[in-house]
Symmetry: C2
Subunit: 246 residues, 2 copies
DNA sequence: CGCGATTTGTGCACGCCTTCACAAGCGCCT
DNA sequence: AGGCGCTTGTGAAGGCGTGCACAAATCGCG
C-alpha cells in the first residue's frame, strides 16, 4: 500500500495531513476501538497487542490490524500498539478533538433521556442546545440547558457553531425538523424517529430505530425456535454478536 | 460473525413453511419495509410497486425486489405487491405475530425512556418487566409497570416467558446482567451499555451505542471540512443516508 | 383474442469486506 | 553480536452484497 504518513504531498498547502480514505466498515469500528483503548489506558496499560485490543473490542485480530494499518501503522512489531498514541490518532481521525457542538430537537420521552446522557459529553461532544415545538416544554431546564422553541433553531445553529443535529421527535415532525436543520447549515443528522429522511447531497444521516433492533432479534428468536423443532438440534452454534453500524 | 449452518432439511414435516435462509443484510431491512408498508396501508393503498415501496423505505428498488424474492414470490408482475399480504408475510418471518415478551434491566436515564417508548408496544413487543439493582428505584411505577429488583429476574423470565432482554445499565453492570439473563434462559439481548458482552453460543446480542453513532458522523464532518479546504471543492457529492444495522 | 404497457424476479458482473497465512521487523536474552 | 520468540503489516483468496439489465409474467384494452 502507498501509505502516506505525515510526509505530505508537496502541493498540499493546508496544515492538515492528507486525509486518509478509510473504508466505511473501518470507520464504523474505530469508535469501538477507541472505547476499548480508553478502558485499557485507565487500567494502566501502556501498550496492547492486536490480539488483546481485538478481544477488548469484540472483533477479529486480523480485522483490527487491517483497520489500523489503514490509518498508517502506529504499532511496533514484537510489542504492540502504544495505547495513548493510538487514542490520539483515532480521536484525531474522528475529529473528536474538536468537541463538536450538537443540537437536540425533540425533548419528549426519548429526547429527554438523550439530553441527560453522560455518554455524549464524555466521548467528545457538547450538547449545546435543546429544542421542542411544544410550548409546554419550552423554557424547562434539562441538565442545565433551557429548552428553546424550534423556531430559534436557525439562529442558534449559526451562533453556537452547531454541525450535528439529533432528531428525537415523533416521525411526523422529523422531516420538517431535518429541513430546518439543513437550512440552518447542519450537515450531519442522527435520526431517532422511525421514518426515512430526505436530505440534499452532502448531508449525512444516520438512523437509529430501537424497534427495528428488537425486530431483528425477534427474527433470530423465531429462527432458533423453529430450528430446535428439527431433528438435528443445534450443535455448537456460534453465539452471534453483532454491532450496529453500517 | 455468525457461523450458523442451519441445514434446512427438505423433508420438513411441520405445517410451517420451511424457514427461509435469508441473508443478514436482508433481515436488517425487512423491518424498514414493514414500517413503510404499515404507513401505506394506513394511507389506503392496496398494492404497491417495488419502486414505490423502495422509495418509502429509502432503498434501491432492485435491492428491495431481491430481498422480497428471498422470502418467496408475493408480488404480481405488472401490478406490484399486495400490501396486507406482504405485511402478514414479513411479520410472520420476523416472528412479530407472537408479540414477544421483553424484560428491561436498568431504569436509569435511558432505561426510563425506553420503558415508556411507545414504539416497542406498537411494533410487536410487550415490555413485561422492569428491573434495577438500585433499591431506590425498586418499587417505582413506570408506565404501569413496577420496577423489581434484579434478583427476581430469573423467576420473572421463566414465569412470563421472556425471550428478549434489554440492557440499559451502566457498562460496569452490563456483563453481570447479561450473565443473569442468559442463566434465566434469555437467548436474545439488546445492549445499550457501551461495552462488549461475552455470551455463550446460541445467544444473540445486538449493540446500540449512541455515542458511536455520533462519532461516525463526526468523522464525516471532519472529512467534509478537510475537503472543502481543497481546490476541487465538493462536486455533486451524494448525500449519505445510512441506516444502522449489521 | 391478441397486443402493448407495466412490473416482477433473477442471472451476472463488479466491488467491498473478511479471513487466512506468512514474511518482515523488533526487542530481549544469552 | 547473534539468535529466538513475538507481533505487526499485507498479499491473496473467498464470500457476501449490490445494482444493472433483461426475460418472464400479468393486466387492460381495443
Amino acid at each position: 500500500m502507498s501509505q502516506q504518513r505525515h510526509g505530505n504531498t508537496p502541493g498540499n498547502a493546508g496544515a492538515v495531513p492528507a486525509f486518509p480514505d478509510l473504508p466505511e466498515a473501518t470507520i464504523a469500528r474505530l469508535p469501538e476501538y477507541l472505547r476499548a483503548l480508553h478502558n485499557l489506558a485507565e487500567a494502566g496499560s501502556d501498550t496492547i497487542s492486536s490480539e488483546g485490543l481485538a478481544a477488548a473490542a469484540g472483533v477479529n485480530s486480523a480485522k483490527l490490524r487491517k483497520d489500523l494499518s489503514h490509518l498508517g501503522s502506529y504499532g511496533t512489531r514484537g510489542v504492540g500498539y502504544d495505547v495513548t498514541l493510538l487514542i490520539d490518532q483515532i480521536e484525531y481521525i474522528l475529529g473528536l478533538d474538536q468537541r463538536r457542538a450538537v443540537a437536540l430537537v425533540g425533548v419528549g420521552n426519548l429526547g429527554h433521556a438523550l439530553a441527560g446522557y453522560d455518554g455524549f459529553a464524555s466521548r467528545g461532544f457538547r450538547i449545546v442546545a435543546l429544542f421542542d415545538a411544544d410550548l409546554e416544554q419550552v423554557g424547562k431546564a434539562i441538565n442545565g440547558l433551557t429548552v428553546r422553541h424550534v423556531g430559534e433553531l436557525r439562529r442558534a445553529v449559526v451562533e453556537d457553531g452547531i454541525t450535528i443535529g439529533v432528531i428525537s421527535t415523533p416521525p411526523s415532525a422529523a422531516q420538517g425538523v431535518a429541513d430546518d436543520l439543513v437550512a440552518a447549515g447542519v450537515t450531519s443528522i442522527l435520526n431517532f424517529a422511525p421514518c426515512v429522511l430526505s436530505v440534499p447531497a452532502g448531508v449525512d444521516v444516520r438512523k437509529v430505530d430501537l424497534a427495528i433492533e428488537l425486530q431483528i432479534l425477534s427474527f433470530h428468536e423465531h429462527r432458533k425456535a423453529s430450528l430446535t423443532a428439527l431433528p438435528g438440534g443445534l450443535v455448537g452454534e456460534g453465539g452471534n454478536q453483532e454491532a450496529v453500524g453500517s
